[in-house]
Each structure stands twice: as structure tokens, then as C-alpha cells.
């Protein structure tokens, strides 16, 4: 097999991902999909959401690292995608802080009698 990316940071690794790894990742992804469905059969309160999210993050990481080659790719590409995820989390986290903080005020009938808005 020709070594086609000699400038890659890890040129010892073959760039074509071995089929063994691809299938192992696929099986793991299927398992986690089953897990995320199975978790809803048990009521764990708010923990359900966090488990579902954690499973989704693990699955996303596996797709990024192996299917998208980030494990063998330039670290800068991984940096870009990680930063974008962090900013989305920051965005959602701050928005949630704000809206959850003020939601009780909206639900007081004396303040909001109309059903519009949110």
C-alpha cells in the first residue's frame, strides 16, 4: 500500500482504516443505539436524559475518531470540531440558564395571561 500522506503527524499508521476497526466501531455504535433505547425502559428520573446524552457523545466521538479519521488526522482538524461542540454547549448552557431562571415569572397568571409567547 502506498504511503500517501507522509506529512501526517502519525505516518507510521496506515491511513486506510483497517476493516477490523471499521466493523468494531460499527458494532459498538449499534450496541450504544440499543443501549440508548433500552435506557428509556427504565425510569431513572432526570438521569435518563444525561445517560442518553452521554451515549450520544460517545457515539459521536467514535464516528469522529474512526469513521472520520480524526484519530489519524491533523490535530488541528480535531481542534476545530471540538471547539465547535464546546461553543454549542456554551450557547445552549447559557440560554438555558437564562430561560429557566425567568420561566417561573412567565407562568404566573398575573404576569402572563396570554397563551402566546414562550
Amino acid at each position: 500500500m502506498p504511503q500517501i500522506h507522509a506529512d501526517s503527524p502519525s505516518h507510521d499508521e496506515p491511513h486506510a482504516v483497517p476493516l477490523r476497526i471499521l466493523f468494531a466501531v460499527f458494532i459498538a455504535l449499534l450496541f450504544f443505539t440499543f443501549l440508548t433505547v433500552a435506557v428509556t425502559w427504565v425510569d431513572l428520573g432526570s438521569l435518563n436524559l444525561w445517560i442518553a446524552l452521554a451515549v450520544a457523545v460517545i457515539k459521536a466521538a467514535m464516528v469522529c475518531l474512526y469513521f472520520m479519521h480524526l484519530r489519524w488526522d491533523s490535530p488541528f482538524n480535531g481542534f476545530i470540531i471540538t471547539i465547535s461542540f464546546i461553543f454549542v454547549a456554551l450557547f445552549i448552557g447559557l440560554a438555558l440558564l437564562d430561560s429557566v431562571e425567568y420561566q417561573p415569572n412567565y407562568q404566573k397568571p398575573s404576569i402572563a395571561t396570554d397563551t402566546g409567547g414562550g
Binding site: 507522509a6 506529512d7 460499527f26 425510569d43 445552549i92 430561560s99
Partner: protein, 363 residues
């Protein structure tokens, strides 16, 4: 960076590959630049979906019971099925990139074809899901988009059909919500005047009209043909292979009903009881929350719609790559487009990985 790279650079000055653009020194440089650009693009895609996920998080955070109620209209089986389909097509895509890297043209074309089949299956299932929801709306004949308008959709069955007025699910819904609707129907009629004769003035009036009609249909047929008690205690079907059957009411409703002795209990009561199933019924939602049910569907359609658009674009790109592959455009020294389209396809998979549990598996 290394000797191999330097050799390659010298070599490329002698024989310049046709794929190498003039502003790049080597194919490697061109490849890594293209890849960097693709990753930057993918980051903006994630940020774009981030806006929708934010809307989702805020509405779910402020109205959890609405989401808990409304998500019963989504079919977990189809959601999980589509997850598996997308994962499998991601596998074949990654396999295709590998085939391109190794210069195996027939395998590359085969893998791209399989990926395309995966994309098609995904869209077919999406079509089934969307058209089911569309049917619910159009069958009311009101012209108003009831799911969006947030009107009384208590008669809709989960992924079921509304064509058979004696459908079990509707009867169950009817039995549970009869009293509530009787009260509200009176109030609505008083407000809206004679809805049956006058052309409806607003969407709101139209949907109320439709609901009253639906109410009457069920009233006439269900009362004499069905024993509500036996229907409600029937165990929920576990075989989900025949999705088009008249579906039961949103899962768990019957259990909730037994659990609270036939009296609709508020959401908090059900949740605190800790009996394994905290179920929100239409009656648990106050008027304001009932109006907010449409928000769930707005978010659902926006998120899955934008995602579906990405699937379609990805399928177009894969077709383009496949045609080029058939012409022998790719080999071990040049497969950048295959790789980048692969990255795009994996991103589509990535977003679905988050969409599926958040929309279909609300607990």
C-alpha cells in the same frame, strides 16, 4: 516534513498531476488544505444545528411536560430503524474511502452505491413518518395545520391512521378525554358561534370545527362497538413490525389510567409516583400547555427537516462521486472528493445520533 514528502515535491515538479491546482506545491498540501476547509465547514454546520438544539433545549427545559406528551406521536421504532440505517451507511462510506485509498475501484463504487441505498431508505422512512403526520392533519379537512396550530390533537393516534373511526386508539383517547372535550366544546361553540354554517374566519376556528366533527364521529361509532374498560387494560403490543395498523394511543396511557384510578392526574403526581412510567396525557396539560404542543412539532419538523435536507444533499454528492469513480477519477494518489463527501456524510450521521434520543426517546 519528511523525506518522503520532499521526494514527492521534487517529483511533482517534473510531472505535475492533473488534479493538482497551480497554487499548491504538492497533492498532500492540497489534500490537507481541502480537508481543513471541510472541517471548518463542518464546524459551521454544527453551529447551525446548534441553534436548533438550543431552541429545543430551551423549550424542553421550560415545558418538559409538553415534550413528554408530544413525543408520543413519534414512532421510536422508525427512529431506531433510521439510526441503524444511517450507521450502516456511515460504515459503507468509510469502507468506500478505504477502497479509494487502496485504489479498489469496483469496491469503491459498490460501497458508494450501498451508502446511497442507505440514504434512500432513510428518506423513505422519513416520508412515511411525515406523511402519517400529514394525514392526521389533512383528514380533518380543516385546511389548518392542526399540529402547528396547536389545536386539540387528542384524537390523533401515534403513527396510526385516522380513517377508521372505530380505531381502538382513538376510542381509548376518546374515553379518556371525553369529559374534558365536552366542557371545552361548549365553551368553543359559545365563542365561535355557529361553526357548522358560517365559513370559518380563522385557523383557530377551523381547527375547533374539525375537532368537533371528529368528536362526533367517534361519539357515534365508538360508544356502541367498544368496551372501553377492556381496551384500556389491554397490554401494549410489543410487535412493532406492522406499523401501518391502527395504532394504539400514545404508549403508556392505559397504564397511567389504571394507576390513578381513572381520574386524570397532574403531571407531577404521575412523575412522583415512581411506578416506572410517568405518562403525560392531554388532560394533564393546562390550556396554555396544550397550546404549546405545537412547539414540539415545529421544532421536530425544523430539526428533522433540515437534517433530511442534508441527507438529500449528501445523496446528491455521493451520486456525483460515484459517477466520477466509475470514470476512474480516484486512486491512491487522489481521492480528496471521496474523503470530503465521506466527512459530510458522517456529519449527517453525527447529527442524527443526537436527534434520535432527544426527539424520540424523551422520558
Amino acid at each position: 516534513m519528511s523525506t518522503a514528502n520532499a521526494n514527492h515535491a521534487q517529483h511533482s515538479e517534473d510531472v505535475r498531476q492533473p488534479q493538482l491546482a497551480h497554487h499548491f506545491d504538492t497533492l498532500e498540501q492540497q489534500y490537507s488544505s481541502a480537508k481543513l476547509g471541510m472541517w471548518a465547514f463542518l464546524a459551521t454546520e454544527i453551529l447551525m444545528f446548534g441553534g436548533l438544539f438550543c431552541a429545543y433545549a430551551v423549550y424542553r427545559g421550560t415545558h418538559p411536560e409538553v415534550f413528554l406528551y408530544a413525543h408520543h406521536f413519534l414512532n421510536t421504532f422508525w427512529g431506531a430503524f433510521n439510526t441503524v440505517v444511517l450507521l450502516a451507511s456511515s460504515l459503507t462510506m468509510a469502507w468506500g474511502v478505504r477502497a479509494a485509498q487502496l485504489g479498489n475501484k469496483p469496491l469503491l463504487v459498490l460501497m458508494l452505491l450501498l451508502t446511497l441505498v442507505g440514504g434512500c431508505s432513510f428518506m423513505v422512512v422519513k416520508y412515511i413518518e411525515y406523511s402519517d403526520k400529514w394525514e392526521h392533519v389533512s383528514h380533518h379537512g380543516s385546511g389548518s395545520f392542526s399540529l402547528f396550530a396547536g389545536s386539540r390533537n387528542a384524537f390523533y393516534t401515534e403513527e396510526g391512521e385516522f380513517t377508521d373511526p372505530t380505531a381502538v386508539g382513538q376510542a381509548v383517547r376518546y374515553g379518556e378525554s371525553k369529559q374534558h372535550h365536552d366542557e371545552h366544546a361548549i365553551a368553543h361553540t359559545n365563542q365561535a358561534g355557529d361553526l357548522h354554517d358560517a365559513p370559518a374566519k380563522t385557523l383557530e376556528h377551523q381547527s375547533k370545527h374539525a375537532t368537533e366533527q371528529g368528536h362526533q364521529i367517534v361519539d357515534a361509532t365508538a360508544a356502541k362497538t367498544l368496551d372501553f374498560k377492556s381496551v384500556q387494560t389491554r397490554p401494549m403490543p410489543t410487535d412493532r413490525s406492522d406499523i401501518r395498523r391502527p395504532a394504539p394511543a400514545p404508549q403508556g396511557l392505559s397504564e397511567a389510567f389504571e394507576h390513578i384510578g381513572g381520574i386524570p392526574a397532574p403531571y407531577e403526581t404521575l412523575a412522583d409516583a415512581g411506578t416506572g412510567h410517568s405518562v403525560v396525557t392531554w388532560e394533564d396539560l393546562d390550556d396554555r400547555q396544550q397550546g404549546l404542543v405545537s412547539q414540539f412539532f415545529q421544532i421536530y419538523f425544523m430539526m428533522t427537516g433540515l437534517h433530511g435536507l442534508h441527507v438529500l444533499i449528501g445523496m446528491g454528492l455521493i451520486t456525483w462521486i460515484m459517477i466520477r469513480a466509475l470514470r476512474g477519477a480516484f486512486g491512491p494518489s487522489y481521492y480528496t472528493p471521496v474523503d470530503l463527501v465521506g466527512l459530510y456524510w458522517h456529519l449527517v450521521d453525527l447529527i442524527w445520533i443526537f436527534l434520535f434520543p432527544l426527539l424520540y426517546l424523551i422520558h
